[in-house]
């Protein structure tokens, strides 16, 4: 138990015990709380554009007060637009965490890495804790770290696709090379896939559609929590090495003396 308590995810001066970041945009509002509880999530993303309302039901009223909000800049097509949306989020009382989403393609919703780097620079300068959503490219990830990103959030597959770890090899490169938390975001469709990236060393997993479109939302939220915990435990335990080659029966180095 001691070990679990020590195993925290540190972001922007805050410490989190949960490594499951939950999206909020695809639920009926009254189900958000249940999903958060079952998921044990401490960080919840939401689109500023959905919170930008005076409607009788505001998504913000359905998010447990204990959750840390991670508003995203969905709707931004440029770095400047991301900055404007982030400022609006701050004015709405969503705090200083911001998930940068800069997207110039409405079909695949793939992030624009170059603009994302620019947006990160602008937002860090304004004191935000910046978590950029990105295509898993090592050079971009390094640029984002240099720009001051608190974490990077590479995608596993196109957002909402539930297609799983399409970018697995490239995620592994980021996990090996990037020294800020790597939070795998988008495309994860099943708990087993969440467990797999956690085993690989991801700092956390973010999911939305996989839970929101499940037959039983509470149960799927729980399944993801367990999978993420299992994957994290396996990573900390050190998974057994998978041998690329069979052990040679006639060693080449047994001639060495001394």
């Amino acid at each position: 138990m001691e070990k679990e308590k020590d195993d925290v995810l540190a972001l922007g001066g805050k410490k989190f015990h949960s490594r499951f970041i939950l999206g909020s945009g695809k639920y009926s509002l009254e189900l958000i709380r249940a999903a958060v509880e079952e998921a044990g999530a401490e960080i919840l993303t939401l689109a500023l554009r959905r919170a930008n309302t005076q409607a009788k039901e505001n998504i913000l009223d359905f998010i447990p007060e204990t959750a840390t909000l991670l508003p995203n800049t969905s709707g931004a097509r440029t770095a400047e637009e991301a900055l404007r949306i982030a400022r609006m989020a701050r004015e709405l009382g969503c705090g200083d965490f911001i998930k940068v989403e800069v997207v110039r393609d409405t079909k695949y919703l793939l992030p624009d890495n170059a603009e994302t780097v620019r947006a990160t620079e602008l937002l860090v300068r304004e004191g935000f804790t910046v978590l950029p959503y990105m295509y898993p490219d090592l050079n971009t990830a390094r640029d984002l770290v240099d720009a001051g990103a608190a974490a990077v959030m590479p995608l596993a597959a196109p957002i909402g696709s539930n297609r799983g770890l399409c970018t697995k090899e490239f995620l592994q490169i980021l996990l090996d090379e990037i020294r800020v938390p790597v939070i795998v975001d988008a495309g994860i469709g099943k708990p087993s896939e969440a467990a797999a990236v956690m085993e690989m060393g991801a700092a956390a997993v973010m999911a939305n559609t996989a839970i929101a479109t499940a037959g039983d939302i509470r149960r799927m939220a729980r399944a993801f929590r367990l999978a993420i915990e299992a994957g994290r435990e396996a990573y900390l335990a050190g998974t057994g090495r998978v041998q690329q080659l069979a052990s040679a029966s006639s060693p080449l180095t047994d001639f060495l003396a001394g």
């Binding site: 709707g75 409405t106 909402g160 479109t213």
Partner: protein, 383 residues
Amino acid sequence: METNPLQYEADMQVLPQGVMEEVLRRRETFQPESYTRSDVKRALCRANRTPEDFAALLSPAAGDSLEEMAQAAKSETRRHFGNAVQIFTPLYIANYCENYCIYCGFNCHNKIKRARLNDEEIDEEMKAIRREGLEEILILTGESRKMSDVKYIGEAVKKARKYFKMVGLEIYPLNVDEYAYLHACGADSVTVFQETYDLQRYEKLHLAGHKRVFPYRICAQERALMGGMRGVGFAALLGLSDFRRDAFATGMHAYLLQRKYPQAEISFSCPRLRPILHNDKINPKDVHEPQLLQIILAYRLFMPFASITISTREREEFRNHVIGFAATKISAGSKTGIGEHSHAVSHAGDDQFEIADTRGFDAVYAEIKAQGLQPVTNDSVFV
């Protein structure tokens, strides 16, 4: 004397017509009867559907597969939009029109009461709509540059931005600089109904006015995007010509423009012909509910990320059902006359067409909730 519908008028901005030519070519070569049930099955199985798949889904062969299409549409809709259904309302601010479109209640030869709301009246109407709880508004005018000039529309947009988070426009086609002006005023989407993509038919239905110029209208969405608008809406008025070909052309129009402008947010409307004042015989001909549904489903499966609006032209039950699996946007409290939202206007103008679903905001909101879906009054941010 009737003019050439391909001839631009002097003040109309001319864009390269590549998209238009491709749409018309594809419409011409589309043979709805040539598709088989196995084409439909293949289209249903595919993850990313091609224009050929779209054609198969619009063909008569798909008529027996509506249930399968609806099931596939439901999962696409949930994947892209989750549980959210957006609510908006249209606001007609003027019904003067210089066009002679023989099927439209606003046409310049139809003897109806004309009106154009002034500043205070627009304000009253908007306040009344806002009080109901709406946050997205679609501003409409008849197509008269003289009576509803761009400045007038711009002032209405600026006013709307005081009350609403999202302002869309459904007005006569404009040049790029005019769209840019209205975008600067606060509008972020433009919908233009092409009515029909059948050029010969178009010529016979649109006898006079700017609207007669077919290419200027078909390039309107592109000019709107060039002017900075985030979203563009497309529609054929179903019942004017061969509905399968027109629906195909509508989808191709949106598809080709999104490829050219990948950031464009695409939306479809699916209007059928309705009776108008002084002509209650106008009807959607062979586009019955099954055909309408097939079109809606084909749009959803072809461009799953596009918003689909379900019109108040349709009856309540039809609308209730399609928001459950394909449509993502529904109007509430719709009125197609002028000055009908508030009681402050003494000289109200007549309606564009008859609506079938008269429910107000609260009733539509409650219906969406009752289906376990989430009504959303705003899902946009103007930057």
